[in-house]
């Protein structure tokens, strides 16, 4: 794998941060949010800031922009120097002058970062109106030019479109155009691609690199995706709990991480090499899905609308103890399949047989007794537990529904807590008193409490940090081993799929385009779409966990393991 790792020590220093302390406004005694941050970025350099969620990456970038929310966070001490200008001491008006001209920023969520009620063209042009004396016509011409530079198609139309009329990638291009139109010296990008699917992410990363090349901009790139880091960084800083624990050129960091935390972080990054496939079970399949169709909407009072064909003719089976992964870009119909199987929605056609019962056509009431055979774990650990219920109550809900006496259910709940590696006393606490990873483990425990034959996990680890993600994946693996459940694992992350699945099913626009053993699909994709998906995965040639390159194509590894 090739790294950038260019040397910029000769270039002009754009941003210098020294001993920066940020704390909660009006509470100087509270634990600092940023604790003595030092950072340097030089012209043309791409500096990546990595670290787990909540480590202070965003706060650092906002501090540099002078955009800390004044009633929540404040700079307590330290220096932020932008080409000789001290940002910590700047007046609001001065700060406004600097922004967009000298320092610009792109945010993670392209939908929410653009004003939904203003045309995107206007939003770009506004920067010119604020900071230059260009005439209206010139400003527009300049805007159009910039939009072309970020490779937006059909620029005239998009100029007068509203954000919601654009795709995520297009929106992010608008953000970039907006940030770069005045040719700033420093571009801060806070997780600019996290919300995008891999193929779009790749395009955006390329675009940023291209623009940087063209304008010689310094880039501070924030991400938690080590793959992306490997792809784009010159230098990297690793953050943990408000401190920078390690800072090094990319190659050094990936090959010879010094700090334990860095090592831990890198070890948690799953490989794109598929796991060794488990033996095919002799027992009969837990679930059989045949010809599943799901069309949303349709009908309507005035217009007969077509409806969204979210899943078309989906077929698969899963045997006990085995895991089927469904991968595909956003909107391809993954969740739809999961929800149909769980009968949270009613499929338009097809058969779903779980533990010997055909459930696709059962009424709610008829279905109820069969529910214990299949359980689901959702993506969002915050919302999938009732915030008003204690953990114990949540864990007991299912068993009690199926006739387990309360006491027995409680005892079982305590055992489950051990299983998912949480203290027993956690039973009396409420969900908000846990971290995201802990919550997800509780959700898994709740599903397992039903002793299901099939466990559906819909993006069950996507909201979690890599390190936490690794723990949860381990837990799922354990459970599968112990109870021999069949698992349907839905993810958009190929690394995760490679890590956990025996079989993979690739979906695109509701259709299954490829289906086979994980090793086969991920190493020798036959379908164009699957190939693109794999190509686009950043850092796919690096074996992070072992601090070395994957010297050959991942497929071979999988095959030989």
């Amino acid at each position: 794998m090739e790294f950038k790792s260019r040397d910029f020590s000769a270039a002009k220093r754009i941003l210098k941060i020294r001993k920066l302390n940020v704390g909660l406004t009006g509470r100087p005694k509270a634990a600092p949010v940023l604790d003595g941050i030092d950072l340097d970025i030089r012209a043309g350099e791409t500096h990546c800031l990595v670290g787990e969620s909540g480590s202070g990456k965003s706060v650092t970038s906002l501090a540099a922009m002078g955009l800390l929310p004044p009633d929540a966070l404040e700079i307590q001490s330290g220096l932020i120097d932008l080409e000789g200008f001290d940002i910590t001491a700047a007046r609001p008006a001065q700060m406004r002058e600097l922004r967009a001209r000298r320092i610009a920023m792109i945010f993670q969520e392209p939908m929410t970062a653009l004003n939904p009620v203003l045309r995107v063209g206007e939003q770009i042009e506004e920067v010119l109106n604020m900071h230059t004396d260009l005439s209206t016509a010139d400003a527009k011409a300049r805007t159009i030019d910039m939009m072309e530079q970020v490779h937006l198609p059909d620029v005239q139309r998009i100029y007068s479109a509203f954000p919601h009329q654009l795709s995520g990638g297009q929106r992010q291009r608008i953000m970039i155009a907006m940030a770069l139109i005045l040719d700033p010296d420093l571009l801060i990008a806070d997780e600019p691609t996290t919300a995008l699917d891999v193929t779009t992410q790749l395009q955006i990363l390329k675009l940023i690199a291209e623009m940087q090349e063209r304008h010689g901009t310094a880039v501070l790139f924030i991400t938690h995706d080590m793959g992306v880091v490997a792809e784009i960084a010159d230098t990297v800083s690793v953050m943990q709990k408000g401190r920078i624990v390690e800072s090094a050129p990319i190659r050094d960091l990936l090959t010879h991480p010094k700090e334990d935390y860095t090592k831990k972080l890198l070890k948690a990054v799953p490989n794109l090499a598929p796991r060794p496939s488990r033996g095919v079970s002799a027992k009969s399949d837990v679930i059989t899905v045949a010809g599943l169709d799901m069309t949303y909407g349709g009908g309507g009072f005035f217009r007969k609308s077509e409806g969204v064909k979210a899943a078309r003719d989906v077929n698969f089976t899963i045997a006990p103890g085995r895991t089927l992964g469904i991968v595909g870009e956003s909107g391809s119909g993954k969740s739809t399949v999961a929800r149909c199987i769980m009968r949270l929605i009613d499929p338009t056609a097809g058969k779903v047989t779980v533990a010997g019962t055909e459930i696709a056509q059962l009424s709610r009431r008829q279905l109820q007794p069969h529910r214990k055979h299949f359980q689901i774990v959702f993506q969002d650990p915050y919302r999938s537990l009732n915030p008003r219920w204690t953990v114990a109550r949540s864990l007991c809900e299912g068993p009690i529904n199926f006739g387990t006496p309360r006491d027995a259910a409680m005892d079982h709940a305590a055992e489950l807590m051990e299983l998912v590696d949480l203290p027993r006393d956690a039973l009396d606490r409420y969900p908000h008193q846990f971290s995201g990873g802990q919550r997800q483990r509780i959700a898994i425990a709740r599903a397992v409490a039903m002793k299901p034959d099939l466990l559906v996990a819909d993006e069950a680890v996507s909201a979690l940090d890599v390190s936490v993600q690794a723990q949860v994946l381990d837990l799922l693996d354990d459970i599968q081993e112990k109870f021999g459940v069949a698992m349907l694992f839905i993810t958009h992350d190929l690394r995760v799929a490679a890590q956990i699945c025996d079989e993979v099913l690739v979906m695109q626009k509701g259709l299954v385009v490829e289906h086979g053993p994980a090793g086969g699909v991920l190493s020798n994709p036959t379908h164009e779409y699957t190939r693109n998906l794999i190509e686009a995965a950043p850092g796919r040639r690096w074996d992070f966990a072992n601090f070395r390159a994957l010297d050959s194509a991942p497929a071979n590894q999988g095959a030989t393991a």
């Binding site: 007794p369 689901i376 809900e397 529904n401 039903m450």
Partner: protein, 295 residues
Amino acid sequence: MTEIPTSRHSAFQVLTGLFSLPAGARIGIGPMIAAVILVVIVLAAVLAPLYVPYDPLSMDAMARLKPPSEAHLLGTDPYGRDTFSRVMTGGRVSLLIGIGAAVVSVAVGLMIGLVAGFFRVADGVIMRIMDSLMAIPAILLAIALVALNEPSLSSVIIAITVPEVPRVVRLVRSVVLSAREEPYVEAAIALGSSMPKILIQHLMPNTFAPLIVQGTYICASAILIEAILSFLGAGVSTEIPTWGNIMAEGRVYFQIKPGLIFWPGLLLSLCILSINLLGDTARDLLDPRMKKREG
């Protein structure tokens, strides 16, 4: 995927958003004062019979419209009744009307709203009826209900309640509709919980916080509406002193005896002010989102 403010969505915001305080607000000095004021007023009203110097109904034609004096702390009204005794006693009924209206409309609205929010079939019909009730101006409905029956305490409470119910129903329904999309509700379905159980155990508690806020709002506005009904001659009989009818009776004396309006008005405003403020605070304390932010 996109956040589209549909009208249902915004109706919910309207109802709850009215009382929003900044995120992370802790109970400040304001709500403390409000609570103290409210407790004092409520106690003063409830205990009024124990300490007021005169029977609030006893008249003395020879001592009409007297200015404040030792004998009559706040003077007397056009019947020669003691204003102080009346105002303090009047609080009892006003508060009763406020609390009564709030409790009844919240209870009735909660039931209808849960049904509407959960049973698709009933929803259409119920909501059309609620829309219609909302479209009739509350005050006209109240006057009609009171005038056409008779202005007893209970008919005033009912008259105030009827127009409030649809608002509560909408609120409850919107909470139920948005809560039933929550993954934890789907999880409960997956865990095999029955619909009534989900409705009562998972969904209903979500409505409590907004309902408490709405309840305080109804309580405050009921006290005000009672005053307006009295003003229009459709209120509770003057035999039952309320802040509303004391003010309504005193309104023509506004220029010569402002005390007749001022004192009940002051207590009423303080009371409503406190109730509203406490409603705001309750909202913040009960909002699970707040807990999440703190947690």
